[in-house]
Amino acid sequence: MPTIAPLLLVAILVVTVILVVRLRRSEERFRLLAEHSLDLIGLHDPDGNHIWISPSVEKLLGYTQKEMVGRNAYQFFHPEDLERIRSQSHNVALAGKPVRITYRSRRKDGTYIWLETLTSPVFDSKGGIVRLVTASRDVSARKKAEDLYRFLVRHLPDTSVFLFDDNFRHIIADGSLTGKTIPPTTNLEGGTLFEVFPRDMAITLQPYYRMVFDGQPRVVEQAFRTRIYQITFLPIIYGEDQHVSMGMAVFHDVTEQKRIVQALQEQALDLERSNRDLERFANVASHELKSPLRRIASFAELLAEDYEGMLGDDADDSINEIIEGVRSLSEVIEALLAYSRVQTDASNMGWVDLNVLCDEVMKGLAPVIRDTGAVVTKADLPTVTGDEVLLKQLCQNLISNAIKFYDGPGRPEVTVTAVRELLDWEISIRDNGPGVPQGQRKNIFEMFKRAHSSDVEGSGIGLALCKKIVAIHRGRIWIEDSEEGADFRIRLPARSPEEITDPSASLPPGHWSTTEPPEPRR
């Protein structure tokens, strides 16, 4: 019927106008809100072209509103960020949910600023996306801070840092470990826990990531694949409301340290075992040797007695040689026994004030000091960790040697000083004696080796004993060059008794291991 067609046309026209007006009106309302916002608010078509943009664009990007209308938002993106953002914006279309992106936007003067933009889709009645609404803010300052932070993180040795929000999405995921031992290698930022870490690692880390947001810092040791990490979880409290806004996980690769500690422990056990074997052997050997030795000496003496004068001078001499030989042998056995008995264990380790120890040694050597007129001076000595009995023996051997071997016309002079060298204490015992020739400075610490003639009495194991005691304390002993006399140097590690007993014990966060001894008791 002819009248229906024009009626239909008018109806469609009216509906269209109403719809357009409604759209315009909502856009009008929207515009009002947006014009008064500090953030950059934009309305785009689904391809990203600007339909409208808030006036703040002029302050932020230098362009006027007019200059932006019709242009595509992506035009202003930094080329490096473009690819990344394009794929992420796609999510808006797929998820139909708002998407947050961070990128550099070009200003009219050619410089770039960092923007963080929240893009929200607007749907029509059929569910298709008809508009995109964006809200952007300048995050350049924050980005700069993050970059500085990232720079720092990348340069920490054997460390990686992960900064994440309460959705476990990483804002920072960087360091020297990522790419080497924590896969995967690139573009971890923006990824969630399960996107950044391999599944097995993520599953293990998940409860800790969650616990970070209850505000408690934690340190854990965790093995992944072939490495061992010390992971520190820290809550980041930001803003005035004191709530945990982000979490940080600092990974520190401690595999090497752990391996070294384990090797040391094994070595220590081996050493202990071999020391015990040695002592047992020395005991048995000395016992078995003593009886025949005694018989040789005693019967030689009886011979001398029974046949006195009857066998002639040669026989007397021979008998004396036998007796003398036995005496030497007996001394050697005693020395070996004493050497084998030099041992200690962790329970004997404590703080030892070397000033007090030295004074005690000097008191013990008082007769010798008096007889020789020796002068023993000591500077301020440190307090070290060690076995007091053994260290006293060490000190006594060296000082008494220094006095014993002096062969000059004047008085023996011994000077004891100490100096700190990084993680060690270096103690020096200097004398004015004949010194030790360069060529003998190594093997003088072997048993029964002497640098000088055996006019001076002694068992010949004094220095070997010193070497053993120093070794037990994980130190070093050697002879330094000096103009006159001998300069014995001992290096002892500056560690606390706790560290000596268990070097593998990992201390809880906030607990500082001290290598400084407590105040000396005076």
Binding site: R295, A297, S330
Partner: protein, 143 residues
């Protein structure tokens, strides 16, 4: 000083050491009769007057070596200590070892004293002198 001859039981496995003890005693002024047991078994037989030692006298003093084959000094100390009539006999340990563990163990088994045999003969004579003077003259012992 008494005229009574003191019976001394020497428990010692090595004949050479036995000879040395005899020679040492010969130099000393004490009236002694030295009896010898070559190991722990013989020592117990002597003390209990068994077998070839059925007419053995009760010793005034026992000089006991620790390390002997078959039955050693420690075992002798144990058995003497458990025997009511024998435990009143003074037993002096005379041995080569000077190890603390041996000393402690001997006293724990109720040895009366412990001495390490010196290497030199004159020192040994002097030691026996001290021991015998003490147990024969100085200390009073059960008769």
């Amino acid at each position: 000083m008494s005229d009574v001859v003191s019976n001394i039981l020497l428990v010692e496995d090595h004949p050479g050491d036995v000879r040395l003890t005899r020679r040492a005693l010969a130099k000393l002024p004490y009236q002694t009769d030295l009896h010898v047991a070559l190991d722990g078994y013989e020592a117990m037989e002597f003390l209990l007057r068994q077998g070839k030692f059925s007419s053995a006298p009760r010793p005034h003093l026992v000089l006991l070596d620790l390390n002997m084959p078959r039955m050693d000094g420690r075992q002798v100390l144990r058995e003497v200590g458990q025997n009511p009539s024998l435990k009143t006999i003074p037993v002096v340990v005379l041995t080569t070892s000077s190890a603390d563990t041996d000393v402690t163990e001997a006293y724990r088994l109720c040895a009366n004293s412990y001495h390490a045999k010196p290497v030199s003969f004159p020192d040994f004579v002097s030691l026996l002198d001290d021991i015998l003077k003490y147990w024969i003259s100085v200390a009073r012992t059960p008769s």
